[in-house]
Symmetry: C2
Subunit: 203 residues, 2 copies
DNA sequence: TCGTGATGTAAGTAAGTACTTGCAATTATG
DNA sequence: CATAATTGCAAGTACTTACTTACATCACGA
C-alpha cells in the first residue's frame, strides 16, 4: 500500500533502525533484511531510498552527526557556584553522551575501516568536546573560582573521567553488572579536581 | 605437505591471526578464509583445529585472557617517591593496555552479543584494575604521601583518565590524527590528582 | 620401508546476504 | 475519475561465507 505516509517518514524510520542495529551488531553483523524489519518496511523499500548498504551507513552517520552542546553547557554553568558548575557540567556532558550512545558506538567500531572522513569527523567531535571544556574552565578561572593550571590538560582529564564513565556504564554495560552511584562518582572527582587545580601554582 | 612444524605451532598462528582480525574487522567482518590466510594455513586446516568460528572466538578470548598486572605494579612503585610512583603506575598501566589492545577491542565490540561469560570476564578484568589501583593508593597512604580520600572513587578517577587516554590514542587512532605528549598528560594529571587528594580532609 | 600425523589442494554443500525486477495495492492529488 | 507516488509481495540473481569431503604430499619415527 502507498501514500500512507510521506516518503521522508519512511527514510527516517530506516535511518533510525540502521543506527540502532549498526550500533548493536556492527556494520557487517547487521543485515539489510534485519534493518528493514526493524524499520517496519520491505527490504526492497530500503533499496528504493538508499543506493547501497554503504551509502546507508554514510547517511546514518551524517544524519545523526554530533551537534556541539558545549556552547549551551557554557551558558548553563555561567551563574552557578564553582563546584556546582563543575558537577553540572559533568552530569550534563554524560547525559549528552548517553543520548548519542549509538552514534559514538558506531563511530568507535567502524571508523578504522571507514573512509578517512568518518575518522576526521570523530576526532573533530573530540576536539569540540575538549575545546568546550577549556572554554568552561577559562570562564570559571575568570570568575576567580578555579586555579591557574594547564587548561588543555585539565580538559583532557575532566573529559577522560566522564567519557570513561559513559563508556563503561553505557557502552560496556557495566551498569548491568554492578550498580554505580553516579552522583557520588561525579561529586568526588569534581572535588579532587577542584582541590587539585586550585593549589596548582602556589608552590 | 606436513610435519614441518608441531601441531601446536599451527594452532598458535591461527589464534594470533584470529585475534588480530577479530580486533580489526569485528567477528562478523572477519571471514574464516581471511583468518586462515593471515595465519598462513589452508581454511580446511583452521576447521581441523577449531570446531567452528564461534569456538575459535571463545578460544581466542580464553587464550589471550588478561593476567593481572596489578600485583607487579604494586611491587614496582613500592620504593618510589610518591609523585614518581603515580606517574610510573600510570605509564606502566597504559603500556599494559597497549599490549592487550586487540583483546580489549574485541571484548568491547563482541561482549554485548556474546555469552554472558565474556561479559563477566570483561567486568572481572575491570574489577581487577580498580582493585589494583585501590591497593596502590592504600600503600601510598600508609607511607604517608597520599591524603585521606575515598580510595574507590580515586581509583575510578585514575583508571578513567588512563583508560580513556589508551582508548583514544590507541583504539580510536587519535595518535594518527594529532600528536599528544604522553609524558605531559601523565605528569599534569598526576599532579592535579596528588594536590586534589592531599588536601581532601583538611577542611 | 612403512605407517602415522599433519597439512594442502580441489571441489563441493547449504545457507545467507546485498541487491534487482515485475507486478499489485493503496492513497493523495488534480 | 485518472494519474502519480509510494510501498508491499514474490521471485529472483550473483556472490559470499561457514564448513565438509576426498585425495595427495611430506616429515618423522619405528
Amino acid at each position: 500500500m502507498a501514500r500512507t505516509q510521506p516518503e521522508s517518514d519512511t527514510r527516517e524510520r530506516i535511518l533510525c533502525a540502521a543506527l540502532k542495529l549498526f550500533a548493536e551488531m556492527g556494520y557487517a553483523g547487521a543485515c539489510t533484511k534485519e534493518i528493514a524489519r526493524e524499520a517496519g518496511v520491505a527490504e526492497v523499500t530500503l533499496f528504493r531510498h538508499f543506493v547501497s548498504k554503504d551509502k546507508l551507513l554514510e547517511e546514518v552517520m551524517s544524519r545523526f552527526t554530533f551537534v556541539s552542546v558545549m556552547p549551551q553547557l557554557l551558558a548553563e554553568i555561567a551563574a552557578l557556584p564553582c563546584e556546582e558548575a563543575l558537577t553540572t557540567l559533568a552530569g550534563r556532558f554524560i547525559d549528552y553522551l548517553v543520548l548519542r550512545k549509538d552514534w559514538v558506538r558506531i563511530m568507535q567500531a567502524e571508523m578504522q575501516r571507514a573512509p578517512a572522513k568518518l575518522f576526521t569527523v570523530y576526532h573533530a567531535f573530540l576536539d569540540d568536546l575538549l575545546g568546550g571544556f577549556v572554554a568552561c574552565f577559562r570562564q570559571l578561572q575568570q570568575r576567580g573560582c578555579l586555579g591557574d593550571f594547564d587548561l588543555e590538560q585539565g580538559a583532557r582529564m575532566f573529559h577522560g573521567i566522564c567519557f570513561n564513565y559513559f563508556n563503561q556504564e553505557e557502552l560496556q554495560g557495566r551498569k548491568n553488572y554492578k550498580s554505580t552511584d553516579r552522583e557520588l562518582v561525579i561529586r568526588e572527582f569534581v572535588r579532587i579536581f577542584l582541590y587539585g587545580t586550585c593549589s596548582r601554582r602556589s608552590e
